[in-house]
């Protein structure tokens, strides 16, 4: 039989687990200031995560989806994007969001059960967290279509998890984006698990990057714990997309170092030793080591960074806790630009029967 098509999936790593370059680094990685910026954000994410989990455990936050372990992926993606691009996240990509201007307070307000957390002061066109798995991906294709219709050199970036790749919506989005050559990048965060289901039970595909082949678009794998690598691969994909070269799938290989959410208990299902092994590949240490090798980091700066982050986080927690519960009217006021008359009556009823303020969580 005749070969009519062949495909290769490539994997890239720039920094190994010790922070040693495994190949020539891109320009941005040679600028210590730039690497430091990324490292600072990764550290902020890590420390914020611990705080948020603690808030949940002590009854001051709702169910929360931690990001520990994903910092390189999230920050690398954020750093590669332009401000005028549009992000369609899932629910744990705080690193990207913070880089783009979402605030710690907004994140807390959101997971505190309040829609106002999605009204980002910063990236006004970014989408909020998206709970229905995979549904953000066709939306990102639509955002990209708007850029194409208007001839704007902007990109949409959609996240999706390894589990999420099993949903048809993801495939439909890749396929439509490929057919219409849309400026969108799909970032598949392969963190090994979809709640309790490991990747091997989710698909027979040996890589998730190869999902792209079904849509006729490029797919590439990168070490998702290597912030330099993630940023480099993303920059390439984004540049191509902006030039009319169409979509890309970028699979970042990382690991969920936490429970799925604070409502989950991963010890029920994860094989012994896996978590410990994964900690040896986590993203912060290698970035720090690399910074140190540039002579741009030391313990004192680390201490200063940590207390700086702690202060930011404390301020955010305070702002969050000082946020009064929203008015009952809110659930009516934002539904329509021109609300139907009948809703006014329901709004009155709702006011009358609102749960006493001060309750709610």
């Amino acid at each position: 039989m005749k070969n009519v098509a062949d495909f290769i999936i490539r994997f890239g790593q720039w920094l190994d687990t010790e922070g040693k370059p495994t190949r020539a680094l891109p320009e941005f990685a040679q600028d210590p200031g730039e690497v430091e910026r990324m490292y600072r954000m990764m550290t902020l994410c890590r420390l914020f995560d611990a705080k948020a989990v603690n808030l949940q455990r002590t009854g001051r936050l709702g169910t929360y989806a931690p990001c520990t372990g994903h910092e390189a992926t999230h920050v690398g993606v954020g750093a590669a994007m332009q401000p005028e691009d549009v992000l369609c996240p899932v629910y744990r990509e705080y690193g990207t969001q913070l880089w783009r201007g979402v605030t710690l307070t907004e994140i807390l307000v959101y997971w505190g059960g309040d829609e106002r957390g999605t009204d980002f002061a910063g990236p006004r066109q970014d989408f909020p967290w998206c709970v229905p798995i995979a549904s953000q991906t066709p939306i990102a294709a639509g955002v990209a279509m708007a850029f194409k219709v208007r001839g704007e050199p902007r990109c949409a970036v959609a996240y999706i998890g390894d589990g999420g790749t099993s949903e048809g919506a993801f495939y439909e989005a890749m396929n439509a984006a490929g057919a219409q050559k849309l400026p969108v990048v799909f970032v598949v965060v392969n963190n090994g698990w979809a709640i309790s289901v490991p990747v091997a039970a989710q698909t027979a595909a040996q890589t998730l990057a190869q999902k792209a082949i079904a849509a006729g678009i490029p797919g590439v794998q990168v070490d998702g714990n290597d912030v330099i690598g993630v940023r480099a691969v993303m920059e390439e994909a984004l540049v191509r997309a902006r030039r009319g070269g169409g979509p890309t799938v970028v699979e970042t290989l990382t690991y969920r170092l936490s429970d799925h959410t604070t409502a989950d208990d991963a010890t029920r299902y994860r094989p012994a030793g896996e978590l410990e092994a994964a900690w040896l590949r986590e993203p912060l240490v290698r970035t720090r080591r690399y910074l140190e090798s540039l002579g741009a980091w030391d313990d004192a700066r680390e201490q200063a960074l940590r207390s700086d982050c702690a202060a930011q986080i404390d301020a955010a927690v305070q702002a969050y806790q000082a946020t009064p519960k929203d008015s009952t009217d809110a659930m009516f006021d934002h539904l329509f630009a021109n609300p139907p008359e009948a809703l006014e009556e329901q709004k009155d009823t709702a006011r009358r029967w609102a749960a006493p303020r001060g309750t709610g969580h």
Binding site: S135, P138, A140, M145, H334
Partner: protein, 325 residues
């Protein structure tokens, strides 16, 4: 002024709005070169180009999801779902995103989207091509749901739907697409949203209906007028929200209410009309409410479809019974 069919009126409204608003973009299966399987978009791709009249990939979920993304950027997507039975794959995007995005982002991201789709049976179509699923849409807060019953109302309501800054589901009765022509002025004037239309005045029975059934109800009313039974016929047109005041006003005069729809009875939109009258107009009622609807069975393949769709005879009988109670 041209005499046009309902589907031509849809085409006219789309063309008007596309010419006047560069943000209006159409998408859907076979809507470009082919002009849509019902020809609703015929000529528009030639006129406005393939970026404004897009042949989508065969994926209703992607169509709806892309409409969400496009709308968030200020475009005004008008998406076509080829038949209402193929709406299901789009429901996740409609229910979980389109209907909610303005609310959950507190007004930051808005959804000026129209989803057009054929509605109902009676045209001898294949299986799954004759569904009346308006309830599924109406139950979702954050959406408006319209169903025009004449070329003029199709024209005016579609313009209103496209101009509305929130998502509107626009149900086009297949049975009416080519049924009758009507003079429609192509003046770009929209009809008001959220309003029912009183199509006929009568003193004895209020008859509420929408879509293709409107024509059967009007024929029934005609017949009943020979028996001196006067029907106050209301075309609901807006199925969410419902213009309950118009219904209640009428019931206050007639004391009797018959609701006619093609969709299955159980949890059909007729139930909402009846329930509201039982709440707000109970003391006006001189006789039990009556619903004349499709049965709680699957819309049959076409050999039996007219056993399912309420016939004029069945409507006449039902109204007469109610009038005499």
């Amino acid at each position: 002024m041209a005499k046009v069919t309902l589907v031509e009126a849809v085409n006219m409204a789309l063309a008007w709005e596309m010419a006047n608003d560069p943000d209006v973009v159409l998408l859907g299966e076979d809507i470009g070169r082919n002009g849509g399987v019902f020809r609703a978009t015929v000529g528009l791709q030639e006129r406005f180009g393939p970026l404004r009249v897009q042949d989508s990939t065969l994926a209703e979920g992607a169509i709806a999801g892309m409409a969400v993304g496009m709308a968030s950027q200020g475009l005004k997507p008008v998406a076509e779902i080829q038949f209402m039975g193929f709406l299901y794959p789009a429901l996740d995007q409609i229910g979980n995103h389109m209907a909610r995005m303005r609310n959950r982002t507190r007004g930051r991201l808005t959804m000026p989207i129209v989803m057009r789709m054929p509605h109902g049976g009676g045209i001898h179509a294949p299986e799954h091509h004759s569904e009346s699923l308006e309830t599924l849409l109406c139950h979702h807060a954050g959406l408006r749901v319209l169903c025009p019953s004449s070329p003029a109302r199709a024209y005016g309501l579609l313009l209103a739907a496209i101009r509305d800054p929130d998502p509107v589901m626009f149900l086009e009765p297949t049975r009416l697409y080519r049924m009758a022509k009507q003079e429609v002025l192509d003046d770009g004037l929209a009809l008001p949203l959220d309003r029912a239309f009183r199509l006929r005045e009568g003193e004895d029975v209020t008859v509420v209906t929408w879509g293709a059934m409107t024509h059967d109800v009007m024929r029934a009313a005609e017949q009943l007028s020979l028996e001196k039974i006067g029907c106050d016929v209301i075309d609901l047109a807006s199925l969410s929200p419902i213009d309950h005041d118009t219904v209640l006003d009428s019931v206050a005069r007639t004391g009797r209410l018959v609701i006619v729809h093609e969709a299955a009875r159980h949890c059909g939109v007729g139930a909402e009309v009846a329930a509201t009258v039982a709440e707000r107009g109970l003391h006006d009622l001189l006789a039990p409410v009556r619903r004349i609807t499709g049965y709680d069975t699957v819309m049959p393949y076409f050999k039996l479809e007219h056993d399912y769709i309420p016939s004029v005879a069945r409507i006449v009988d039902g109204i007469r019974e109610t009038a005499r109670t």
